[in-house]
Symmetry: C2
C-alpha cells in the first residue's frame, strides 16, 4: 500500500459501487447537515434585522419563525412527492429539465451551483466566526483557518462519499442532542416558572428600540430567516447515495431532517421569547451569538455550555460537506448532457468525481478569499440560488403531474402518494407559489446588499452550459465518421529530425526515423553559429558514410539560418515548406528528448522540445505529426 | 507590426549587438543608478542608529561619512584596476573564479545574486515608502504599488538594455542636479552666515539624548552607512554594455559615479551638521526623511522642494534597474559555465536574456510579498552580499597581480595603470582588507536583525550552482557520442493506436499508422463498457474489410479491461507487454488529438491525451515512442 493509497484510500472497483451507499442514520449527516446547520444561523439572521425594535424583536421572532416552519413543511411535502417520482435523483435540474425544458433545467442547475458554492463559503466562514468569538487569539488567522478547513473537507470527500458521511455522524448528533436538550430544559424551566423563567446567566440588557415595527422590516427579517431552509433539496438530489430501498430511505431521511429542523427552529424562537433574548450587533466588542446567549441563559456557562458550542461550531463548519456530496453529482448530470467537460462525468479511483470536488473547492476558495472569510459579507448572496431551484423544481413537478396520469405507486406507498393527480399537483403548485414568493421577497430585500452578484453569476453559468454544449455538438458533427478507413494512396511520411548536436539522443532518434521512412531530413536551426558547424563537420562520417555503406538512402542535413536567434519561427517555416513540397504526405517531426526519473531533470533539459511540442499543437497544421523519441538517462 | 512587437519592440538581429551599447552619459543611469541612489538611504540609515544620542547625531555623522567616503575611494581605485584587467566584464564572479578558483567564484556569484535581488526589493520598497509619505492616501496600496513598479521595470528591461538606460537618463540627472543644487545653496548660505545658517523651515526639535555615545553604536551607524556603497561594482561587471572603447568609457563612468556619490554623501553630512538635522523615528506620525528635512531647511517647501523629492522618489525606485542590467549578465556567465540551465545563456529577440530578467523579477516579487514591501524589514539583509563580492573580487585581484608580471597596458593608459606590479597589488590588498573588515562589521552588527537569512541563502545558491554543473557533466558524459549511426537490424516499429471511438480523428490517426508500419494494434481501454462495444461493432466494417480488400495486413483491436476505471495504468501495462513481445523493436504509441485554433478548446478536449503524453515522458521507457497525430477542427 503506497503512501498515496494510505491517505486517499485504495481504488474502489466499479462493481463495489453499492457498498458506498448509506442508510438514513449516516444519510442525515451526509445530506442533511446543510439543512440542520441552518438552525444555527437562520434565527440569528432574522433577529439581526429586528435589532432596531429592541425587546420587541424577541416577540416578533415567534410568528416569523412560525411562517418559516410552515413554508418548510410545504417544501417538505412537495419534495416528498418528488422523491418517488424521480428515484434516480430528483434534483431541481432533472425535474425542471424534464418538465419545463432544457433552458429552465439549466437555470435551475446554475441556481443550485451558486447556492452550493455559497453554502461552502458561508458554512466555513460562519464556523470560523464562531470559533474566533470563542478563542479571540485566533482572530488574525480567519482566512488561513477557513482555507485549512476547506482543504480538510475536500480531502475527506476525495476519499469517498461514504467516509465523508461517516466522519460527520458524531458532530451532527452532538449538535442535535445538545441543542435539543437546551430547548427541552429551557421550556421545562419556563413551564415550572409559570412562563417567566429566571435565566442562569442574565442576557445583556436589550437596547432600547430605535425604530418602529414596519412591514418592510418584518419582510426583511423573514427573508433572512428563510436562510434556515437552505439545504432541504439536497436529499432529493442524492437518492442514489442511499442503500436499497433507496426511495424509502431517502423519504425517511427527509422526514427526519425536516422534523428535527422544525423542532429546533420553533424551540429557539420560543426560548428567545421566554428569556427575552435578541441579537447583538456583530460590531460590538462583547458580541455573543443568539445560540450562545440562549444556552448560557438556560444552563449557565458550565462544561455543558462549551460542549454545546463545540457542536454548533463543528456542524456549521461541516455543513459545507453537503455541497461536496451534491455539487459533483450535479456536475456529473450536466456533463452527461454535454453541458460541462467530460471530465466531470467520470468517477475517479474512489468512485467520486474528483473534478467536481476540486472545482467546488476552488470556487469556494475564491469566494472566501474575495470576501476575506467574513460571514456578514457572504450572507446576502445566500438563499437566492436555493429558492430559485425550489421554485423551478416545484413548477416542474406541477407540469409532471399534468402530463402524467397520477403519481406512480412505489413499494413504500403511503396514502399521500396514492392521492389523486389533482392533490399532488395542488401540493406542488402551492409549493411553487410559496417558494416563488419567498424568492421575490429575498431578491427585493437583499438586492442592494449583494444579491445582484448572484444575479450576474447565474446567467454567466447558464451561458457556459449552453456554449459548452454547442461546442461539443459542433465537434461531434465534425468528427462523427460513417466512412471506412481509406487504404489507397498510402505513402510513407517525410521525416524531419530536429537536431541540435550529434549525441546518443539524436543518434537514437535518427535510428527510429530510419525505421519508419527512407525520406529523412535533419533540421538544425542555427541559433548559435558554432553548433551548426560542429554538426555539419560530423555529418559525413557519422551519418552519411554508414548509410551509404549499408546501401540506404542518405538523409540531408538542413542548416536553417536564424538572424534573430529565434528557434520556433524558422523551424516552422522549414517544416511547412517540406509539407508543401510533398503534397499528400505527412511530415513526421521527430523530436529527440531526454527522459529521466527525476522531475528536476525537466527543469534543466528539454525546454526547447517542450516549446516545440506546444507550438505544434497550437499551430495545428494537420500535415505535421509529432514523433517524440525518448532517450533514457541512466539512473544517477 | 503586431501589438506584441509594438509593446516589446521588433526583434533585434545578433549582428546589431554593437548598436545596443551606450556611452558614459547613458551609462551613468544604466549602471550607476544603484550606487547614486544609495545617497538617498545611506546617510539616513546611519543617522537612524544615532537617534538615541540626540543632537550629537548631527555631529558624528560627519566623521562616519568621511570614513565611508574614504572606503568608497579605496574601492574605486581597486575597481579602476580591475576594468582594464578584465575588459570582457570583470565581475566579482569572473575575477574570483580565475584567480581564487571555481569555489570562490561561485561564492562571489551567490553573494552578488542575493545582493541584486535585495537591491530590487529595497529600491522599490524605499521608493514606494517615500511616495506614501508624500501621499498618505496611498498607504493601503503599498504592496500593489511595489509589484506594479516591478512589472513596469521588468517590461522596460525585456524591451532592451539600451532602452532601459535611456529611459532613466532624465530622473537620474534630475536627482543629481536638484540635490547638488540643494547642497551648494545650503553650503553657500552657511558660509555667508558664518557657519550658522538660518533654516527656511526650522527642522522639528531634536529629541534629548537617551543613551551615551559608545563604540558599538558608532560601529552600527557605520555599518548602516556602508549601504551607501552598494552598487559600485555594477560598472566593472557591465563593461561589454559600453560602446567602444569600452574600457575607457567604463572607467570614465565609474569615476563620474564615484565622484558624484562622494560629493553627495559629504554634502549631505555637512548640511546635517550645519542645520542640526537628525533622523526621525520612522514610527512617529510626522516622520520626515533626512533629505526631505534638509531640502526644506535650505529651500523651504516651494515647488523646488517637490521637484527635488520627485527626483529622489524616482531614482530610489529606478535604482532597481541596475540589478536588471547586471543580474542577467551574471546568470549568462554562470550558464555558460554550466552552473545554471542553458536558457540563461541565450539572448531573446531583443538581445536581452529574458530568463534572467524574469528570474530576478520573480525572486524580488517573492521578497516584496514576504516582507510586505516594508523597507525597514529588508534593509538588514542588504550590503552583506555586496561586501562579500567586493572582498572576493579584491582578493582575486591580489592573486591576479601576483601571478602576472605587471598590470597590462591598454590604449587608455594612465600613470596609475602603469605603476609597478607591487603598487597595484598593494591597492587591491588594501581594498580587500578594508571591504573584508566592513563585511565582518556588517555581519556582526546586523546578524540578529535578519542578516542570517542571507547567510542561509548564499550557501543555498552555491549548492544549486554545484549541483547543476554536476548534473550537466553527468548528462554530457552519457550523451556525448563518438559512434556513427548503426544501420543494421532496422525493423519497422510496432504501432499501438490509442483509440476511444471511431471518429474522423481516429480514422486519420490509423491512416498515419498504416503509412509507417504494417504491424498495428488498436488499443481501447474499457473505462466505459458501452464505448468498447460500440467500437468493436464498427471495427470489422470500417477497418478490417477495406484493409483485407486492399491486401493489407489487418490490425488487431485490443479491448483492455479496467475494473477501477483507470486509464493510464492498464494502458501502460498493455504497451509494456507489447514492447516485451517484440524485443529489439520500438513501440510507436499513436495518440490521435484534436487541435483547434482556440485555447478554450484545450479545456474541453484532449485531457486524456495530455495525461498520456505526460505519463509517457515520466515513465521513460525508451522503447515507447510517442506519435501525436493531429486532426484539425474546422474554423468556428
Amino acid at each position: 500500500m503506497t503512501l498515496y493509497d494510505r491517505i486517499m484510500g485504495a481504488p474502489l472497483a466499479t462493481a463495489d459501487e453499492a457498498k458506498q451507499t448509506v442508510g438514513p442514520l449516516a444519510g442525515i449527516p451526509m445530506l442533511g447537515l446543510d439543512a440542520l446547520s441552518s438552525a444555527a444561523y437562520g434565527p440569528e439572521a432574522a433577529l439581526a434585522i429586528l435589532l432596531g425594535i429592541g425587546a420587541l424583536g424577541a416577540v416578533y421572532i415567534v410568528p416569523i419563525t412560525a411562517i418559516v416552519v410552515a413554508l418548510l413543511l410545504i417544501v417538505f411535502v412537495s419534495y416528498r412527492q418528488t422523491i418517488p417520482a424521480y428515484p434516480g435523483g430528483g434534483g431541481s435540474y432533472t425535474v425542471a429539465r424534464e418538465n419545463l425544458g432544457v433552458r429552465f433545467g439549466l437555470l435551475a442547475a446554475a441556481s443550485l451551483m451558486v447556492d452550493y458554492i455559497l453554502n461552502v463559503a458561508v458554512g466555513i466562514a460562519a464556523g470560523v466566526g464562531a470559533l474566533i468569538s470563542a478563542v479571540p487569539a485566533l482572530h488574525p488567522y480567519v482566512l488561513p483557518l477557513c482555507l485549512g478547513i476547506l482543504v480538510l473537507i475536500t480531502l475527506v470527500n476525495l476519499h469517498g462519499v461514504r467516509e465523508a458521511g461517516v466522519a460527520f455522524v458524531a458532530p451532527t448528533y452532538l449538535f442535535v442532542g445538545t441543542l435539543g436538550l437546551v430547548i427541552l430544559l429551557g421550556l421545562a424551566k419556563a413551564a415550572l416558572a409559570g412562563g417567566h423563567p429566571v435565566p442562569v446567566e442574565v442576557p445583556a440588557a436589550v437596547p432600547v428600540a430605535s425604530t418602529g415595527v414596519g412591514f418592510w422590516l418584518l419582510l426583511r427579517a423573514f427573508a433572512n430567516g428563510c436562510t434556515a431552509m437552505t439545504g432541504v433539496e439536497a436529499i432529493s438530489n442524492g437518492i442514489p447515495a442511499f442503500r436499497a430501498p433507496s426511495v424509502s430511505n431517502a423519504k425517511r431521511t427527509l422526514a427526519a431532517v425536516v422534523a428535527i429542523l422544525a423542532v429546533l427552529l420553533i424551540g429557539i424562537a420560543l426560548l428567545c421569547r421566554l428569556y427575552g433574548i435578541v441579537a447583538d450587533d456583530p460590531d460590538t466588542a462583547n458580541y455573543q451569538s443568539v445560540l450562545s446567549k440562549l444556552t448560557a441563559a438556560v444552563t449557565g456557562r458550565g462544561p455543558f455550555y462549551y460542549v454545546t458550542m463545540g457542536g454548533v461550531i463543528a456542524v456549521v463548519c461541516l455543513s459545507a460537506n453537503t455541497s461536496f456530496a451534491d455539487f459533483p453529482r450535479l456536475c456529473r448530470l450536466l456533463a452527461l448532457d454535454n453541458h460541462l467537460p467530460y471530465t466531470f462525468a467520470s468517477r475517479s479511483r474512489r468512485l467520486v468525481n474528483a473534478s467536481g470536488i476540486l472545482a467546488l473547492a476552488v470556487m469556494s476558495a475564491i469566494l472566501l478569499v474575495a470576501f476575506g472569510g467574513v460571514t456578514d459579507r457572504l450572507v446576502p448572496l445566500f438563499a437566492i440560488g436555493a429558492f430559485g431551484a425550489f421554485t423551478l423544481s416545484q413548477a416542474g413537478m406541477v407540469m409532471h403531474w399534468r402530463s402524467l396520469g397520477r403519481p406512480p405507486a412505489t413499494e413504500c406507498d403511503r396514502p399521500a402518494d396514492r392521492g389523486s393527480r389533482g392533490a399532488a399537483l395542488a401540493i406542488n403548485a402551492i409549493g411553487a407559489v410559496a417558494t416563488g414568493l419567498v424568492l421575490l421577497i429575498v431578491l427585493a430585500t437583499k438586492f442592494v446588499d449583494g444579491a445582484w452578484v448572484v444575479l450576474l453569476l447565474i446567467p454567466a453559468l447558464f451561458f457556459v452550459f449552453v456554449r459548452v454544449q454547442a461546442h461539443y455538438a459542433f465537434v461531434r458533427e465534425q468528427t462523427d465518421c460513417a466512412v471506412p478507413l481509406a487504404v489507397t494512396d498510402l505513402q510513407p511520411p517525410v521525416v524531419a529530425v530536429v537536431m541540435r548536436r550529434w549525441s546518443t539522443i539524436t543518434r537514437n532518434a535518427l535510428r527510429f526515423a530510419l525505421s519508419m521512412s527512407d525520406d529523412i531530413v535533419a533540421v538544425h536551426v542555427n541559433t548559435d553559429a558554432e553548433e551548426g558547424r560542429h554538426l555539419a563537420a560530423k555529418w559525413g562520417r557519422f551519418v552519411e558514410a554508414p548509410l551509404r555503406e549499408g546501401g540506404h538512402a542518405v538523409p540531408r542535413l538542413l542548416l536553417v539560418e536564424s538572424p534573430y536567434r529565434l528557434f520556433l519561427d524558422p523551424l516552422f517555416d522549414t517544416l511547412t515548406r517540406l509539407a508543401d513540397e510533398n503534397p499528400g504526405r505527412s511530415v513526421a517531426v521527430v523530436v529527440p528528448e531526454l527522459v529521466g526519473g527525476r522531475w528536476s531533470d525537466y527543469l534543466l533539459h528539454n525546454q526547447r522540445s517542450t516549446a516545440l511540442k506546444g507550438a505544434l499543437l497550437l499551430h495545428g497544421d494537420q500535415r505535421l505529426v509529432l514523433v517524440n523519441v525518448p532517450w533514457r538517462l541512466a539512473k544517477h
